[in-house]
Each structure stands twice: as C-alpha cells, then as structure tokens.
C-alpha cells in the first residue's frame, strides 16, 4: 500500500533505533507522552518499544475519544436508542463501551435499533431511506472527526431533512494536554503530538506547550517509522537544548491547519462551558455542542435524556491510565477483573485504549518476553 508500506521498513527502523540510542544521554531517563490513541495502537501493534533504548519510556495519553466518554453519556445515548422511532447509528468503537449498566451491543441485543456505520454520511443515507424514523448519529472524536459531523449536519440542512440529528460528544485536544501539563503527578520531557487532529488545527495551537512549559512537541504520523522519527526529533531538540513545535507528518499536516474544516466546525458547533472527561473530571471549554441555529439537528434538544452523572466503578483506574500516571499493567484490575471480554473501563474497550492495546499486543514484546522467561 502506497504511503503506508514505505513507512514500515524494518531496516530503516533499525537505523533510526541506533540514531535514537546515540542521542540519549547515558543515565538520563526520558519520558515522552504520545497523546493520540492511534499512536498507542501503532506502538503496540508494531512492537515499537523494542526499538527504543531502556531509558526512553513512552507514556500513553488521553487522546482516545472513546476512552474519555463518561458512562452517563453512554446511558444518555442508549436512552435515545431505546425509543422505538429511533435508529441510532454509531462508529464500531462505541459498540462495546460500557455505560452504567449496558453497552450499545447489549442494548441492541435487547431490541434497540443500533447500527454500525463507517461515516456520518452513511447515517445520513439511513435517514434518507427511512423517512418515518428518527436517525441519530453518535458523534464522537476530537477535532479530526468534528468537521465530518459538521459537514454532515450542513448537508442535512441543505437537503431539508427533518429526521436526522447528532448526539454530539466531540471533544478538543488542547485542554486535555494542558490538564496533563498542569498535573503534579507527571514529569514529561516531550510530546509525540497528535497527527490527524493536526490536519485540522495545524501545529500552531501547540506552541504554548513549548513556550510556556518548555517541552518539545513533534506532530507525528501513524506509521512505525513516523513515530520513531518523531522520537528522534524530540531527542535531538533535547540534546540541542531546544523546546519547539516541529512537524514530522509534513506529507499531510499543514502548519496552519485546514481552514475549511475549522470553518465547518465553527459554523455548526460551539464550545460547551465545561464537559466531563472520564478519568479527568470536568474540563472547561473542552467539548463541542451543536449551535442553536442547528437545534433541529441536535439530538440533545430533540430527545430527553437522563443526563445523570455516573461514577466510575470503584475498581476502575482508567483516569490514571489516561493521564499516563499508571501503566496498564499497574492498574489493580488489569487482566483479572478487567479484560477485553469483560471490560470494566473504556481503556480496555476501545481498540486504541492503552489497556486494550497493551493486552492485545504488548503483553509479550521481545523485551518483556526475555524478562518473563528469565523470571
């Protein structure tokens, strides 16, 4: 596959690994956070940690929008889906996320009409072909996906559809990064910055991280070589005493972002004063809702939802994992009560959650295999 395979070349990886090791100060510990769940997934899927020296640790960040959805919002979505006139449409990732008592999967088994879609445009198609039903799209994602939802709402408005709405759970990445930076629990040396979010917002918004907190950030692509190159670039900054925002993913990320995408978001959505993030608590100006002008497409206004705050199960430590304070295996219930078949928290459900990624892929990297065998 073009633009993919070239960035999975093992020989180049080996070369990069050597260069990375050469840049590390002996005896110094380096902790970099990869913000995006997609990066976490790539790291584990391709065993990238095997290419990093012992003193470089990757810490997993909260950039997994499925992982940060509070249980109460899942319950709200299920309440909407259970109405007989509603067809709920959703990305596949959401299907097994546990709410207070059930997931979409469970609700579907109990009779709710919940359908998986690849794109919000597919949901629009369902609305066109089912004029007598109310089609709701479960809109999740960071700024990468918000423009697609926005464009779909605009298209629905342009076509005069009266049976389509979105349940908007879009969140924005910068407040989460700031929450991490302000957290006393963490001491990070640099960030592997979001890749696809940056195609929308560009690289400029991250400048405060370098300027105010003195940490380097490199916007990274999603192939293994992209991530390794980004680690190399962060280490080079540190070795040269710099703290800047750099773009490794230049083939796709424009420094100034995508004006049309930002305009679409701005036209259709506006920031909520605050929003609850699972594990991170309430963060102000961190999430989007549908603007009043498009109220006819806002599921929250069309349907009554319980709107209850559901506390995470006591045993769940997703919050600390999302902040990078705990590694997945350090969570008390990881692998025992909480597994991919019986997930307690979202980090285990989403295929990009750190716990799922680690459980499914990372459990036996070569390094850990050696450790396990010699134990």
């Amino acid at each position: 596959m073009r633009f993919v395979d070239e960035y999975r070349d093992a020989d180049k990886a080996q070369a990069l690994a050597t260069q990375i090791a050469a840049l590390c100060e002996p005896g110094r510990q380096y902790k970099f956070m990869e913000v995006c769940g997609g990066h976490t997934h790539t790291i584990y899927k391709h065993g990238l940690e095997d290419y990093l020296p012992e003193n470089v640790t990757l810490v997993h960040g909260p950039g997994c929008p499925v992982c940060v959805i509070p249980m109460g919002r899942v319950d709200d979505a299920i309440a909407i889906a259970q109405r007989p006139e509603v067809i709920m449409t959703s990305f596949g990732d959401m299907m097994r996320v546990p709410g207070g008592s059930a997931s979409f999967f469970d609700a579907k088994a109990a009779g709710a009409d919940i359908r998986m879609v690849y794109s919000p445009l597919d949901a629009l198609k369902v609305a066109r072909t089912n004029p007598d039903r109310a089609v709701v799209f479960m809109a999740i994602g960071f700024e990468t996906t918000a423009p697609s939802t926005a464009m779909t709402v605009l298209r629905a408005a342009a076509e005069g559809l009266d049976n389509f709405s979105v349940f908007c759970n879009h969140v924005t990445i910068l407040p989460a990064i700031k929450a991490i930076l302000d957290s006393p629990d963490l001491r990070l040396d640099g960030f592997i910055g979001p890749g696809h979010v940056s195609t929308v917002i560009g690289c400029r918004p991250y400048e405060f991280i370098a300027r105010d907190y003195g940490k380097p950030l490199v916007c990274a692509g999603f192939e293994p070589l992209d991530i390794l190159q980004s680690v190399y670039m962060i280490l080079r900054q540190l070795a040269e005493g710099r703290a800047e925002v750099e773009n490794q993913y230049t083939r796709v990320v424009p420094w100034d972002g995508n004006a049309r995408a930002l305009r679409a978001i701005g036209d259709v959505m506006t920031l909520r004063p605050y929003f609850e993030w699972r594990g991170l608590g309430f963060i102000s100006h961190s999430a989007l809702r549908v603007r009043d002008e498009y109220a006819a497409f806002d599921a929250e206004r069309l349907f009554e939802v319980p709107g209850l705050r559901v506390a995470d199960p006591k045993a769940c430590q997703c919050g600390e994992v999302l902040k990078g304070v705990l590694k997945p295996w350090e969570c008390k219930v990881f692998g025992t009560a909480c597994t991919p078949e019986t997930p307690i928290g979202t980090c285990m459900v989403s295929s990009e959650g750190a716990c799922a990624a680690y459980y499914n892929f990372g459990r036996f990297t070569r390094r850990r295999m050696t450790e396990a065998l010699s134990a």
Partner: protein
C-alpha cells in the same frame, strides 16, 4: 480519533445541489470522489479540501468518509529520503567501522 488512510482519487463525482445556499460548503453541489485504497473503492466527500483543485490521481488522507488533506508527495518523498539518509548514515557508519584500521 485517528484512523486516516491514504487513498488515490480515481474519479471525481458531483452530486445534486441541495438547499438554499448560505455560503457554506455543503449548500452547493456535493463534492464527492471515488477513492481507491489498494483495490478497494469507496465514495468520499472532498468538501473539506482547500481551494486547490483535486484531480484524478491525487492522493488524499481518508477519515470516516471524508478527505482530510491532500498528501503532499514531495513532502512524503522528503520524509522518506530523510529516513533513508539516516539509514545511509547507519550503513556508512557500519562500513567505516568494518573497514577502518587503526593499528
């Protein structure tokens, strides 16, 4: 929320115009294209791409049915070259190591 896949535009389609204008991208004709990902074809919306023309043969990053960005082939080549360069430095280093003689 990250899954973006590179795909090649193989056909530009234009859908019917909808609604009453208003200056937003979606009020005009729907901008669609067929994208090919390793032999798999799907219609995607190219309305988020900038004013520059998108042509058949261009490569784009596809995310949930929308093209998010055009893939800059020059930048892609540059990244690869940088990666190869690093590799070359590595190979050069190894060669130098193997052939150096300080006795």
């Amino acid at each position: 929320m990250c899954l973006g896949i590179p795909g090649e535009i193989v056909e530009i389609l234009t859908g019917p115009a909808g609604g009453t204008g208003g200056g937003d991208a979606a009020a005009g004709p729907v901008q669609l294209a067929t994208v090919n990902v390793a032999g798999v074809r799907r219609a995607i919306n190219i309305g988020l791409l900038g004013e520059e023309q998108v042509c058949v043969g261009d490569w784009v990053l596809v995310h949930v049915g929308f093209a998010m960005a055009k893939i800059d082939e020059a930048e892609a080549a540059a990244t690869l070259e940088m990666l190869t360069g690093l590799g070359q430095a590595y190979t050069d280093e190894l060669t130098a190591l193997a052939t150096s003689d300080i006795s």
